[in-house]
Subunit: 349 residues, 2 copies
Amino acid sequence: MNLPLPKPKPAARRGTRRDMTLDDVARLAGVAPITVSRALHKPHLVSPGTVEKVRIAVDSLGYVPNLLAGGLASSKSRLVMAVIPTTINPTFSEMVDALREELLESGYQLMIGLSGYSDAREEDLVNAIISRRPDGIVLAGLARSATLRKRLANARIPVVETWDMSTKPVDMLVGFSNRRAGRAAAEYFIAHGRRRLALLVGGDSRAAARSTGFQAAAKSAGVAIAGVEVVASPTTAGMGRTGIRRLLERDPLIDAVFCSSDQLALGVLLEAAATSIAVPERLAVMGFGNLNFSADTWPSLTTVAVDGERIGREAARFLLERIEGGQDGEAPASRILDVGFHIITRDSA
Amino acid sequence: MNLPLPKPKPAARRGTRRDMTLDDVARLAGVAPITVSRALHKPHLVSPGTVEKVRIAVDSLGYVPNLLAGGLASSKSRLVMAVIPTTINPTFSEMVDALREELLESGYQLMIGLSGYSDAREEDLVNAIISRRPDGIVLAGLARSATLRKRLANARIPVVETWDMSTKPVDMLVGFSNRRAGRAAAEYFIAHGRRRLALLVGGDSRAAARSTGFQAAAKSAGVAIAGVEVVASPTTAGMGRTGIRRLLERDPLIDAVFCSSDQLALGVLLEAAATSIAVPERLAVMGFGNLNFSADTWPSLTTVAVDGERIGREAARFLLERIEGGQDGEAPASRILDVGFHIITRDSA
DNA sequence: TTGAAAGCGCTAACAA
DNA sequence: TTGTTAGCGCTTTCAA
């Protein structure tokens, strides 16, 4: 009788060896595949002896589970994807690290996609991400284009937008108001007697919101803006140096400058040091972000601080609640959390 | 007759709607599922009319492919994973950006996992990565632990290690010799007449290699090392400030310091500015990495530059060659590329 | 506590 | 150019 045998193994050409599967482990352990699955993921449902047998088989075969198959079968990936513009900008680092930490504790893996400050790229990236069916998505910033918002909503994957404020997030939101942060910066300068204010801002939308808020506050206080310089994102110290130079060329009497990032502010401080402009006496400088060098510049940098770590933690919590609680059919509440910001007063302003 | 009907749709409770599948698209377009698959991925094999019908069906249903299923069926994920310690360290940014760029052109997605400078974490992360069966893996640095190396080798996924040199990479390697870079730094100082050298280095293995090379070169030139200060990774400007302070306390006559990162070097420059130490007259400062602020510090920073972009591009190429050429059984050659480094002379040394 | 059967959504291989 | 069939490796559901 000619039973349909499993294909004879082809001569084990290097690189052609098949991956070990759950079935291989099951065969070696003398149990059914499903039992191996249980022993691996729900050991409390399996007798200790069987768990041990499975463990030994797994080790001896060097079995590595295939999460594509697992994810497909269970429609759970234990994966959360974060989208940030680029790693050259450390702005989101603390958020991302906290996110990873918090998710890991609950058994979720974090992976990162880079959108590169391009809306088109971001859309393609999010598409690719949705295609891999993560259990959650965290966006650095807001989803701005309508198509992106729609795609995210349709995917019915929990989404947390961050680092900004909006009354209509796609799903959930943990952030702060960039506009109010800008306003606070202007008010701070004005309260400290500055009257010729300048702006040095990056080209992204969050920086633009800070700029808008700053200008609005100045206007409503009757203080004119002496200059606005917009540079590309991601910002660098070099842009800060040339930016402040341009601003001072146009109006040498500027007495305060708000930078949309600490990198820009660092550049301003360096330019001031190089050209002997007294900071803060002649020029007050405020940055944004409180990066890891900002307390150590010379003079130390006054800046707007945001608790990125908290944003990451809370984003993880929002996500986990939604994921784990998601089985019942209740319409999930749209969640918004404003973590605020505060100005750290140091020597530069 | 009671044909087994597809389950009646449950009342469409919010959040319970099923994702659209290839079958839905096929039904709407009036073709077989495989034809939809072809229209989407290999349109040249399908008549233009059919492609168009499929496109319309896809759009009208808002179909998003499930890459878990696709990957499982084809054992191709079109995904490359990069592993870096943390995004707070911009060292690898250019490499990662170039990698992404280059892979995208060939239709591969790049995603990033964070290992957080912990060997245990890195192992867990790589495990999780292997479980998702990417087509390639890029490591920032070398795989150091034996278990990690073995796991990577067993997975038979193309791997590129980077940013360091070794004669025995797990698979492929694009990098440079950190030890030689350290040596070059010492030789540069000595050639410029410096005789009391100090080291300010981060706690990771690559920084350690640079430190070793530096000390070896000094020794063989008969120049003593006046001090070594080791700080934690990732390094900050603040660590640079306190580090140089400690070094100078121990030996006030140090005339040159090599920092294992530009962040540390920035801190040294800031401390020098704050305490009126003349750079480079009294103290020469050299960094490592040529970060985006290094040309704009005051004074501008002499540093060891590595072409991270090239590392990224070449790593992508290695990977793509291995992936696309991987079908035939030839034993693939282990590839090693040394992209070198060079010292950029600026004002600080 | 364990197992058998039936898919998850897609594509490779073969057939028409 | 299009379709049929048979899985990919795992987990769900139901049964024992």
